[in-house]
Symmetry: C2
Subunit: 167 residues, 2 copies
DNA sequence: AGAATACATTTCATACTTAAAATATGTCAG
DNA sequence: CTGACATATTTTAAGTATGAAATGTATTCT
């Protein structure tokens, strides 16, 4: 190691320090929370629905006729099993999803009803438009850069979390 | 408008389109959720606490001896008034916060107790370390870029949300 | 002063969320 | 076949979150 190291005030080569990381996390959280609350309120106002319901309908919409098991939904939405149970009960009460018979009687497979599919399509259209409007203050290049950096962040999180489990 | 417009497949100059925005939002949400769940679990395991509690203690720690009103906390944490009432009740039951007498009997002013301040300091130290570790996969330059882009995103959100209110 | 109004907070009903315990079903070794 | 284990889900208890109604307190107008 060189004795006369460069007296650079920044650490552009290495990982960010604690304060820098904290500032980054705070910004990230603020953006996510603001978008979530905006979407949440509009789903309520315009469709009498909620974000968790929308997320579950979205997963089921992608899954098509075969539907998903409770466990599938739990993993995809990153929420607990018990959470999915209640969510599914309410969506079924509203006639948006239905149960499918299956061989293994432990698993509950659900899929969208025709009504559920139609209602989700309308919500998804509005949702995409809301997001587009919210992010309209970014240029296309900024959005690309941001997406790439978030992908890199995702990798960092994965590696940091998985290293904990490995001794 | 020019008849022979450039046949560019991207729109680097303009705002991102719907699909691009959606992809960006999904990445942002995944990162935020992953960090939140990790921190949440560690607060539970190591301190028997939660993220909402930590956030309220953090706001009160910054406020110092004078403390904050319920409304202050509600605005800072971007949560409803009713939420703050319950949160404060539980933190007080744990001896982490205390009420202050005030002139206006409508306002409830609260601040950290000595115990609350000490407990928060320990949590904050761990919290900073966790965040630093989670983001260690980014270089300092990437973290700077990401922070700046999130600041730009924040501006975009503010302008999009405020324009709705103005006819 | 008294009425109207504005303000800060709490209460209420409901929904969402989790971790842990309980339930029910399937699989497999002996 | 039967007992042990594994798997998928539901139930339970507690906390977190919201919007709307209710409560209590200040301010202002006349």
């Amino acid at each position: 190691m060189s004795a006369a190291a460069a007296p650079l005030p920044d650490r552009l080569g290495g990982a960010p320090d604690g304060k820098r990381s904290l500032r980054l996390w705070l910004r990230l959280l603020t953006c996510a929370t603001t978008i979530e609350q905006t979407i949440s309120q509009r789903l309520r106002d315009d469709f009498g629905s909620t974000l968790p319901r929308f997320d579950m309908l979205s997963a089921l919409d992608r899954a098509g006729e075969a539907g998903l098991t409770m466990g599938d939904v739990s993993r995809m939405l990153m929420v607990s099993n018990g959470n999915v149970t209640g969510l599914a009960r309410r969506l079924k009460a509203d006639g948006l999803i239905e149960h499918l018979p299956g061989a293994d009687r432990r698993v509950q497979r659900v899929r969208l009803t025709a009504d559920g599919r139609a209602r989700f399509a309308a919500m998804a259209r509005a949702h995409e438009h809301w997001i587009e409007t919210l992010l309209a203050g970014l240029t296309g290049a900024e959005a690309e850069d941001l997406t790439a950096l978030l992908e890199q962040t995702k990798r960092s999180l994965r590696s940091a979390i998985h290293e904990e489990s490995q001794p």
